[in-house]
Amino acid sequence: MSGSMYDLSVATYSQEGRIYQVEYATKAVENSETVIGVKCKDGVILAGEKQKFSRLLEDNTNKRIYNIDTQTGMAICGKLPDGRNILQRAKAESSQYQDMYAIPASANVLSDRVAQYVHAYTMYSGARPFGSATFIASYNTFDGYELFMIEPSGNKYAYHACTHGKGRAVCKSEFERRSFKDLTCQEALVYIAKMLILAHEEFKEKKYEYEMTWITDNNGRKHQSVPQDLINNAVQQAEQLIEQDQMGE
């Protein structure tokens, strides 16, 4: 696919009204590791897979899910440096809002501001769109649990469940099949691990790490990492589930 001469600058529309540079930036996200966000009965979970591309890498470092404040988390899918730029902006917006209004920003407001920031980089030829999609999960007393995804185009939507990256097709079909709204976060961990494992089906031989965070009724409604032993259990059970499915076929 080439846009001939209409795809060299983000400030150029093609004849069909497309902006190819934004689509190419989205390509960068689509080719990267899968990230999932899911709202469950009692909370929100963010999860991502990380390929250990070298045996020399330190375990459980090189994070892609960060805190914006105690009750809001952000997961980055796509180019991590670009995502961290967006993260710094989100932290600044959140901090500024709290200074002004003395309450934490709701996810709706925060992701709106982040989306405007991301969108601004799609309008000028001297800059380029971000090559990352960001997921914002939060809890506050007025709005409850919320989950948003912001794409490189600046589009943002609220979701029950969302995903981006290489394995998004696999994850989306799993979302349709299973009603996460009826599961607690603890119960959902297995299915999330299952989705992440299936997402890299072609690269089974490589080593992967799984990063999961949650905000639930049970952990004080704060954005925190899921304890490592729970992640390990979920991965083990998920692998068994996948084996059963495959034997059943």
């Binding site: 989205t26 960068a28 090189n62 030829s125 380029r128």
Partner: protein, 248 residues
Amino acid sequence: MLKHLYDTDCVTWSPQGKLFQVEYAMEAVKQGSICLGLKSNENVVLCSLKRQPSELAGYQEKQFKIDDHMAIAIAGLTADARVLCKYMRTECLEYKYTYESHHPVGRLVFKVAEKSQHKTQSGAKRPYGVGLLVAGIDPNGVHLFETCPSGNYYEYKCQAIGSRSQAARTYFESWFHLFEKSTLEQLILHGLSAIKKAIMEDEELNEKNVEVGILGKNLKFTHLNAQELRDYITKLEQFSPNSQIQQE
């Protein structure tokens, strides 16, 4: 594919979702001479091979102290490295002044990565053409990070970057399980063995072209002096990782 259309600046995505200018900047790191780092529970060691522009010139230094608890080894454009080095030193000083303690290593690496990322998102700028290995010790433990021109950073148990670094990485993959409990001396010998794998056939390690920096929980960053380097290079003949396994 018409690569030349998409690879002239940092603000053009290719149809495959790549930024070619950033990838080209990473090539600059691969052109630099090798530097590597490895850590144990107590120490971090940085080893580099220094290049000499000509017979009459001195050897280019590749390791710089950032603070008592932190140092970097560089591969790539030295001038760009100097900018990052100055930035890191300033940040450490300011942190010390404000908080009366050492700058946490991971946070400083994050700042460097952020700075590097900004240079990849403007039509008027170019990425830094240098990769850093950041060795540091803080209350969180012993750290070794690698930063890239792309703004990515990774934490490693041991890593080698620069020209012919794959040979050193292969050495590491075979032996890194020994490093955690290694003594400082063993760590230095492992580092020098790895560098030895990466030199050309007609080259030799000597106290002039090798640089070794060491850092420990109770040891501020220091370079080994010429005599110490000579001693270690001599010890290298007798050293084999197998002997370390037999001891344990």
